[in-house]
């Protein structure tokens, strides 16, 4: 089983979010997602300052033979992106929860974080998907 961290919450599209302070979340794709994609070769990141809705496409992650959209796990504004990934997308494979983070988002409401799946629920969700 891939790594699922206790300090994050998860979306059904396999994004994770971790709160840095009351309203700022860091987001990326889960260890499970990077395993499914295999070697990641390219990342397209959003522009900072744009407002995004939960479930809207904000980034693209590509392997040699697959393309995966990354969706905003919550409503908010993109405040930063991990531009280092553009030259080193392999960081997402190596360290999806730290060096492989994709973007930071300022939440409209702190409650949105609580509405996402917790670690145990996400593990069950992944298992139920086979």
């Amino acid at each position: 089983m891939s790594i699922v961290r206790e300090d994050c919450r998860y979306s059904k599209d396999h994004e994770w979010i971790r709160m840095e302070d009351e309203l700022t979340g860091v987001c990326g794709i889960t260890d499970h997602a990077q395993e499914m994609l295999t070697d990641i070769v390219f990342v397209e990141l959003p522009e900072t300052g744009i407002e995004v809705k939960k479930g809207s496409q904000v980034a693209i992650v590509e392997s040699v033979k697959a393309v995966s959209d990354v969706y905003a796990p919550v409503d908010g504004v993109i405040t930063a992106v991990n531009s280092g990934l553009e030259d080193a997308p392999e960081k997402i494979n190596a360290d999806p929860y730290e060096e492989g983070w994709l973007f930071k988002i300022e939440l409209k409401s702190a409650l949105a974080f609580e509405e996402l799946m917790g670690p145990e629920e996400y593990v069950e969700y992944v298992e139920s998907q086979g």
């Binding site: 070697d39 070769v41 390219f42 590509e62 040699v64 033979k65 997308p89 392999e90």
Partner: protein, 474 residues
């Protein structure tokens, strides 16, 4: 020495150009001119050795069996190459006028008739240069048909087993794709389809036989449902080889089809092209075909540009004539019975391979197949995958099957032996597959590390995509 540029050295090229008839002054002002080229400087011997060496690093139909599903890698008859090298075909200019190009126009006119006889469609345009180009023309026809009827239909239904060109062609016409699920038995899920039909549905695109190599048992029902809904039915003829001479695509209810001359009609694939993908339509849709059309009257054959409802022009000229010519020659050498034998032998060969491999590899859909069948890597021990099996086949002088397609079968291996392989060749392929199965159990590393005997070993596609190097730099 990997690329021609590595042979380059100033002064090696000793090519002699023809002499000008007189001393003629250049008329282009200096400001427009470059000051020299940086292409390459090599000798003729360098060129011959280099490209001969490259050719020997290639696998082709002439070097071995190519069981590549949905690609119909049949033998490409040599006489057709000779015919396409006749100077009267090679050198004819597309704008020389009807009177000087009667031979070329006749070939195109008659091939159009043959394709109508073979498929039952009223008329074809030979302009599409490839299957996807034919699809694009077909979707443009669908769009125009509804525009002229004043109906706003923007959705095209496509089964989940379809080739990627289907949805991509739809998107290029600004229409929306909706995916229709398949049943576990490999047919279109007819109940799901019925639920998706409404006044927004312009058409459904269906490959027949489908990409699992199966003939959809509900196809007449699908056609009926679509037509009752006022929608059109598009037939992707990529797999026509299974049914050529056995049935007519028009009898399946298709309003528009395309066929791939580089598959069913044996023209070579050329390492990726050129091909030809004529688009054929029912009588009602003839007026939408791309221009120019070829007509015949008492003066002979002529190009006709005047077709007010046409979708327009889609090619610089009239399509890939030299490919069209090869397909014409192929049909003339086989005749009606010969074509029927193509379909029957292709289906026999595929079912034979399937019957002998189904105990060794997982067969997801257990039905009589048409010209191809799909195995998968499900339940293989020791972590061996479809990719590994494909690579190991290369070591034994066989090309890999089509792998990881169709997408609805994880780890798919799609095998299409074609009609031109003898039973001995099929048996040799089957024996190698069975040998690989044995290796997977006893010595899986031999499979996982394959290929070992090819000009290069597995290549690093990941680095190629992460740090793209798309041109040579010294």
């Amino acid at each position: 020495m990997s690329v021609i540029f590595k042979h380059s050295k100033t002064g090696k090229n000793t090519v002699r150009l023809p002499e000008l008839p007189a001393d003629i002054a250049m008329e282009i002002p200096e400001m427009y001119l470059n000051d020299g080229l940086d292409l390459v400087d090599v000798s003729e011997v360098d060129i011959v050795r280099h490209y001969t060496r490259l050719s020997r690093m290639n696998f082709g139909v002439d070097t071995g069996m190519y069981p590549l599903g949905s690609c119909t890698m049949k033998y490409n008859p040599k006489i057709n190459e000779d015919i396409a090298s006749l100077p009267g075909f090679l050198n004819i200019h597309p704008l020389c006028g009807n009177d000087l190009s009667q031979g070329a126009l006749r070939v195109m006119f008659e091939l159009n008739q043959y394709l109508s006889e073979i498929t039952g469609m009223a008329r074809f345009s030979l302009a599409p240069a490839a299957g996807a180009h034919g699809e694009l023309a077909g979707v443009m026809i669908i769009k125009k048909y509804f525009e002229m009827r004043g109906e706003k239909r923007t959705v095209i239904l496509i089964p989940d087993s379809a080739h990627g060109t289907n949805p991509a062609s739809v998107a290029m016409c600004g229409l929306t794709v909706r995916e229709v699920p398949s049943t576990p038995e490999g047919d279109v899920d007819i109940n799901a389809l019925a639920g998706m039909l409404d006044s927004s549905v312009a058409a459904m695109m269906l490959t027949s036989p489908n990409t699992l190599g199966l003939f959809d048992r509900n196809i007449l029902r699908i056609s009926e449902l679509l037509h009752k809904n006022g929608s059109l039915f598009y037939g992707d003829g990529a797999n026509l080889n299974a049914v050529v001479g056995t049935l007519r695509m028009s009898d399946l209810g298709f309003d528009i089809i395309h066929v791939n001359l580089h598959k069913t009609f044996s023209t070579p694939h050329g390492g990726g092209g050129p091909g030809s993908g004529p688009v054929g339509v029912s009588a009602e849709l003839e007026k939408f075909l791309p221009v120019p059309l070829i007509e015949r009257d008492e003066d002979g054959y002529r190009l006709e540009q005047d077709s007010p409802d046409s979708i327009g022009r889609i090619h610089s000229f009239y399509g890939n004539f030299l490919i069209i010519l090869r397909a014409y020659a192929y049909i003339r050498s086989l005749g009606g019975e010969g074509l029927r034998d193509v379909s029957r032998t292709a289906v026999l060969n595929a079912n034979y391979c399937m019957s002998r491999l189904r105990d060794d590899f997982h067969l997801p859909v257990k039905r009589t197949c048409m010209h191809e069948f799909v195995l998968s890597d499900k339940d293989l021990p020791n972590g061996v995958t479809t990719n590994d099996i494909g690579k190991r086949l290369l070591d034994h002088g066989f090309h890999a099957p089509t792998v990881y397609f169709p997408l609805l079968i994880p780890g798919a291996m799609m095998i299409e032996p074609t009609e031109t392989e003898s039973m001995e060749n099929l048996d040799a392929f089957i024996d190698v597959m069975k040998g690989i199965k044995k290796e997977i159990i006893e010595n899986p590393d031999a499979v996982k590390n394959a290929p070992l005997t090819t000009p290069v070993k597995r290549v690093d596609a990941v680095t190629a995509a992460r740090k793209p190097v798309l041109r040579w730099e010294e």
